[in-house]
Amino acid sequence: MNLTVNVVEENEKSVLNVSGEIDAYTAPKLKESLLPLTKKENNKVEVNLEKVTYMDSTGLGVFVSALKSTKENNSTLTLLNLQDRVFRIFKITGLDEVITIRAAIRGGNE
């Protein structure tokens, strides 16, 4: 299974639309697209995970390093539209309390 990442840049906001599976093989691709965006001062980074069907802990690692990087660069990170299985691992690891997670679709989390 593959991962596709597509970035939409608006003013002071970047939206990453991610689809597929995030695991040890695909996580580097996500990291490559996500980390540079968090390094821009005052940038609002939104990651739309609506089409992510599976994520393992390597994916969490990418989001944790993105979070740390936003704190150093005064930018923000928001995750959107997580599927239940994906949201579950944010919840178990307690990361849902340090990363902003928002559900925009009905029947989603929160």
Partner: protein, 337 residues
């Protein structure tokens, strides 16, 4: 050229002659075997073309000039293939060296992180830990206190392979350095969190559950740092319940505090601790749900704890399209009296 190769070269010529005269398919089959032998002896493609040129000179007397030029041209074209082949050979050898180094590292890790399952009066303990690759990123550890209590740590480092495994050694040595009197689950996690936060790469972190069983009070105290929830089996009601414990993973935020929870354990009750390798098992495209894991545990619950965990793992291993995507650790404690 040694004898063997000379022999194959002679066979090649013979087969070629045969084929030129008869177009017999048996000659084609024969040359296939010869070419396999050449590969085994690391004969390069251009050497085979050369052999072919020589053989044709012997077989036929009326070779035209165009043909001869073209063969020399082909010979030149084959040289790069030959170089590529030699490179593959070299890579294979390097890979072999790396593999043996990793296997040395893996056995060193086993020694470093080794823990003995303690024997505690009235407690039956079973544990199995299977790495998905050569090195294990899961970790479990038993610490027997002088007051008769038993400390149990189960952890999973996020990030796989060698870096993850190295990280685990750090955890173990940090834990070994804590004085016994400060060993309450929440203070252990708080201390480890600082160690991990300072010392690992930002994309790496550790989930851990630390539990302490106090036989005199029939009590289990535990704290979790973002670890996959375990299960509590209550023998009286014959039910499994998720052990809920909230807490942030180790290594993300330096001043995290952890909550401590308590559970009273009675005769034949069980505590099941695991890592997410257990719940992330897949059978083909299908995930194995926690209900399924519990029903398998129930199936083998009549066995001693060690045989129970071994059988649960074997059960999943036997599934047709089973693949272990992550390290798998399952630990069961049962109160016998």
């Amino acid at each position: 050229m040694d004898e063997l190769i000379k022999l194959h070269a002679a066979t090649y010529k013979e087969l070629l002659k045969n084929y030129m005269n008869t177009q017999d398919e048996r000659a084609l089959y024969g040359v296939e075997k010869v070419s396999k032998a050449f590969i085994k002896e690391n004969i390069l493609p251009e050497e085979i073309v050369n052999l072919h040129i020589d053989a044709m000179e012997e077989v036929s007397t009326n070779l035209n000039k165009d043909y001869k030029h073209s063969m020399n041209f082909l010979l030149e074209a084959m040289i790069s293939y030959g170089l590529a082949m030699q490179e593959i050979q070299m890579l294979r050898e390097e890979k072999h060296v790396l593999e043996s180094e990793i296997s040395v590292a893996a056995s060193m890790q086993e020694t470093l992180l080794g823990t003995t399952k303690p024997s505690i009066e009235g407690l039956d303990i079973g544990v199995i830990s299977v790495p998905a690759h050569q090195m294990n990123g899961d970790y479990h550890h038993f610490i027997k206190g002088t007051d008769g209590s038993l400390g149990i740590a189960i952890a999973d480092v996020i990030g796989k392979g060698i870096p993850a495994a190295l990280c685990m050694s750090m955890i173990k040595y940090a834990m070994d350095s804590y004085p016994e009197e400060s060993m309450s689950p929440k203070s252990i996690l708080k201390n480890l969190n600082r160690v991990v936060e300072r010392n690992v790469d930002p994309s790496m972190f550790i989930t851990m559950c630390y539990a302490q069983y106090i036989p005199s009070e029939q009590k289990l105290r535990y704290s979790s740092a973002g670890h996959e929830p375990g299960y509590y089996y209550c023998a009286k009601n014959d039910t499994f319940k998720e052990i809920k414990a909230k807490g942030l993973v180790l290594g993300v935020s330096p001043d995290t505090e952890y909550k401590e929870y308590e559970l009273i354990i009675e005769k034949n009750d069980m505590i099941i601790l695991l890592t997410d390798g257990v719940t992330e098992c897949r059978d083909g495209e299908r995930f194995i749900e926690s209900q399924e894991i519990l029903s398998i545990i129930r199936k083998y619950a009549y066995l001693p704890a060690q045989e129970m965990v071994d059988n649960v793992y074997k059960h999943f291993e036997r599934l047709q399209d089973f693949q272990l995507r992550d390290d798998f650790t399952l630990l069961i404690l049962r109160k016998k009296v």
